[in-house]
Symmetry: C2
Subunit: 266 residues, 2 copies
């Protein structure tokens, strides 16, 4: 039987942190990544528009013959997951549920903070997922709309980023949360500055690892897991693949190969 890849997508670069984790957890799987650089960012856009973008990408990935789609974007997971599951013929995994699970397992004082894009926060997707697992949890949400452009511009280590982060984190610190969900796949790049502002007693949760384990278990249960051979990475971007590749270098330690241009709806 022909080997079928796992499809992974994000509005842009952030999902590469998920791709990286999937590649480590499932080293035999072929992975096809789609970064929607023509429509980035999703975080300030409406549910309807983000759903339309996501469905276009899912159709492309299904045409590529993937056996599963991983939505490596918090905004798309928060706004479009149910519609994707309705319309896709393969299973679709999102990042919200694994992130919420990990946060609930991690907290000791029951106080969890969620950082995310404007759209993710407005959707309350993490809040609902947390309450489903732990109805007595205390939750605070904070939209951090400037974090994505700061990461995309490689400003993670600059003093202005620290100043902006300290402004976003002030309510989180007052809330005394012991667990903070990095509810956007760009945010793990900011871990050093966030950790230094929040202090070492606060646990930072990103969903990359939990999601990869969920994907592994899922494939294992369906007996669709590849167990031999080295997995191939194929990367598409909907605009300016050269810029995409250059910026990917800031986000990932590993070198990525060719980034192919694939326009949807052009």
């Amino acid at each position: 039987m022909k080997k079928r890849a796992i499809g992974v997508f994000d509005s842009g670069l952030g999902g590469l942190t998920i791709l990286d984790a999937l590649h480590r957890t499932l080293p035999h799987e072929d992975l096809i990544y789609f970064g929607d650089s023509a429509n980035v960012p999703y975080g300030s856009k409406s549910k309807q528009t983000v759903t339309r973008f996501s469905l276009d990408i899912a159709r492309f990935l299904e045409n590529e013959g993937v056996k599963m789609i991983v939505v490596a974007c918090n905004t798309a997971s928060a706004l479009a997951l149910s519609e994707l599951r309705k319309q896709c013929h393969v299973p679709v995994l999102g990042v919200i549920e694994p992130g919420a699970k990990k946060a609930v397992e991690s907290t000791r004082n029951g106080r969890i903070a969620i950082l995310g894009t404007e759209a993710t926060i407005r959707s309350k997707a993490y809040v609902k997922a947390i309450f489903k697992k732990c109805p007595q949890a205390h939750v605070i949400q904070q939209a951090c709309p400037l974090f994505v452009p700061l990461v995309e511009e490689n400003w993670a280590k600059k003093p202005a980023t620290r100043l902006i982060a300290s402004s976003y984190l002030a309510p989180v610190l007052r809330y005394n949360a012991d667990t903070v969900i990095l509810g956007c796949t760009h945010y793990p790049v900011l871990k050093p500055v966030l950790a230094s502002l929040l202090g070492s007693q606060v646990k930072l949760v990103d969903s990359a690892q939990t999601l990869s384990q969920a994907a592994m278990l899922f494939l294992h249960n369906r007996q669709e897991q590849e167990t031999t051979g080295r997995g191939k990475l194929t990367i598409y971007a909907s605009d300016d693949p050269a810029r995409f590749k250059r910026l990917a270098g800031y986000l990932l330690k590993e070198k990525i190969g060719t980034v192919r241009l694939k326009k949807l709806n052009a």
Copy 2:
């Protein structure tokens, strides 16, 4: 004869500063504004993609029966103007040429700095327009990719914005430019912080007023200028009109009416 409107478009909100100037200069003209909030920002995207977005909008405006199109976006003017002029049946005015003209008229030491998005700077459109008018000018360019998100998030007055601006302006200050082009329609919102960092001897140039005068002269010469009645403003956004209207409040002193949703290519 039926009154025909002027079409105005931008990637998002920034072009409202141009709309405002057009409305003051041409108070009898109906104006139709299109903000492409589904695809914002343009400044980090490729020529091909920005041209595709711009042509879709121009087609919509032509279908609305406009007599002229004003590209109230520096990135679209820099990357798509010649293609728009090729494909449109009505005249198309951009912001680059009027901005360059005003800068050349304003400078005394012949040293001009251009601030813009990554795409505008890469296109060298301002540099070419300045050299055409004044071959002996000295020109420095500086991309300021974080300015658009800072303005869209209403952070213009925060200390982090000053810190980021001072980093972008350091080379401009060393260059001893006496004239600085605000080469993006969002940047006029940052005038207070830019002026305070550059000092009062440096002239800040934005193209809103020069462009409006060029539009007036153009219509006058073609005898297409309206001379009676109060001009109507009609505003469309390609995504989330409620958010668009709320953010417009940060950018414009004047209240805007209903923002209508108009999806292109949906």
